[in-house]
């Protein structure tokens, strides 16, 4: 009887320890979330407080100036839109095409595994390296010294292509092979399976990857500093051959000015950059939900 009591006592103790451990981890995870979100909130609040007073129509529609209160963001904003638009046009077909080929068509031999390994490695190369590559190959070789939007977009394409390929591959891998088998059983050929089954299923995942990659392209300043180097531009790019500057480069220049007012202008620039980023994410979510709310699932 006594012995039985002690074992049940022991069991209760073990149980209590387990419950404790469970609670400790819940608290730790909640703390992790709070730290992340509080940091982000503090950052956003700081930027909003500094930047909002400067954010008006004049700021959106004028060019940069040596006087903070007269400065505007038109040229870098237009430059960023050009760069991201052209980068998207170049990256999506090439990146998605590569992923489809590697996942659906290529045989799994040693050579193709080597290609995949190298794509994964390329995703980790620092962005400055791509800037130098772009300067040598696109600016100096392809465009004969012209530092234009196309050279910038091509460089950004190289930079984010590995990310797009990997994300698209993962999205394609996530499509259950039973779907493909079913389509093959109905007599579809490979291209029909890809077009009718794999792509529609993988599209939401691909979009997330593409938008994340493009967001990285928006935030990069190092390669553009090498390709363009311009920080005072008083025109909007009108063709792919125009000179340009981008938001992060302009923000970086403003922050490093000695005059205090430029920090407010820089904060306003950061808000614009955030809005561009968030609206791009919004488009991605919209496309995702559009394709996910299909009646046959």
């Amino acid at each position: 009887m006594n012995k039985l009591d002690s074992t049940s006592n022991q069991r209760q103790k073990i149980h209590a320890v387990r419950v404790m451990r469970d609670r400790i981890f819940v608290v730790a995870f909640v703390l992790a979330v709070v730290v992340g979100i509080a940091g982000l909130a503090a950052l956003l609040l700081d930027v909003l407080v500094d930047g909002l007073p400067f954010l008006d129509w004049h700021f959106m529609s004028s060019y940069a100036s040596r006087k903070a209160e007269q400065s505007g963001i038109l040229a870098p904003l237009a430059g960023t839109v050009w760069i991201v638009g052209m980068t998207a046009l170049l990256t999506i077909p090439i990146g998605v095409g590569t992923a489809i080929y590697l996942e659906e068509f290529a045989s799994k031999n040693r050579f193709n595994r080597l290609i995949e390994l190298n794509i994964a490695n390329l995703a980790g190369v620092p962005s400055v390296i791509y800037g130098l590559l772009g300067l040598a190959v696109f600016v100096q070789f392809l465009f004969n010294g012209s530092r234009n939007v196309t050279a910038g977009a091509l460089t950004m394409t190289l930079l984010i292509l590995p990310i797009v390929v990997i994300a698209s591959q993962e999205a394609i891998k996530a499509v259950p092979s039973s779907y493909r088998d079913a389509a093959y059983a109905m007599g579809a050929n490979r291209w029909q399976v890809v077009k009718a089954v794999v792509l529609p299923q993988a599209l939401p995942g691909m979009m997330s990857g593409i938008i994340l990659a493009l967001s990285r392209a928006i935030g990069e300043s190092a390669p553009i500093l090498i390709i363009s180097s311009l920080v005072w531009v008083t025109f909007v790019p009108t063709s792919p051959d125009s000179k340009f500057t981008v938001l992060p480069l302009q923000i970086f220049t403003w922050i490093s000015q000695p005059q205090h007012e430029f920090r407010g202008i820089a904060a306003a620039g950061i808000i614009v950059l955030l809005v561009v980023l968030l609206s791009m994410n919004g488009v991605a979510i919209w496309i995702r939900s559009k394709y996910q709310s299909r009646p046959d699932q």
Binding site: A64, R66, A196, S239, D241, T253, P258, D296
Partner: protein, 321 residues
Amino acid sequence: MSQGALNNVQKTEQRKLSKLALTLISVLIVAIIAACGGGESGSGNESTEITIDGSSTVFPISQAVAEEFRRDHPEVQIPVGISGTGGGFKRFVTGETDISDASRPIKESEAALAAKNGIEYTEITVAYDGLSIVLNRANDFVTCLTIDELKSIWEPNSSVSNWNQVRSSFPDKPLRLYGPDTDSGTFDYFTAEVNGEEDASRSDYTASSDDNVLVQGVSGDQGAMGYFGFAYYTENASLLNVLSVDGGAGCVEPSVQTINDGSYNPLSREMYIYVNNASLERPEVRDFIEFYLNNAGELAEEVGYVGLPQADYQAQIDALN
């Protein structure tokens, strides 16, 4: 019937997808055509563009002058870049840019490249910058140091870590150092003048390429010493104490006056622009350079630098003609 519905759904799905793909491809084609066409139209208006690249230290002056110049000449585009003095010269000596901003004179190796490429140029001094050595606001025991004392602090392998090692009359307070990183022209100049050899410096100090970070560091650290351009001191004069420097002729504090008349010695340096002589033949470039020299004094001071004596600007304008 349900099979028919499923088929329909799949069909519209396919149609949607192929429409998306079609739009993407057509936009891509348009973009490529535009890229090819743009190449031709782009070269047409090059004559009304003056390209400037180079030092980010000189950038605010060039930007200010270009901004004012465009008020009267809106048809001239003057994009200004910040590749750095060396990066700017790399483009300048191949004839890619019309004007190069520089915070130091052109090096022999760069001049040799220019000569090889048949590029002739004119050096123009546009303003002064006084390298300012700053201390924390709470530091009330140091107002002036000699160049030798500065050298004992900043030279390579220096072990000075307390103010009483600098001068025995100073209190026992830890000395912490803040300065620009090794890529900076300010670093090059300071090491050359103080340590006697360019780029020779102790490396155990807090380095940043952003001078505003250095301002924050020094203003928050009681035993701190740091150095950067004059503009960063004047903008933050209420947060920092500035150190007078004895270069052999007594203690001199950096100010517009002492930098302008050359008595803040040896830590005031000249800012240059280099103009391609072939570009100078173009009327808009000549107009711009004359405008630059006529207004640099005033505009340099507006962005935190110090102008030359007026006679020096006039002499350079006369030399152009």
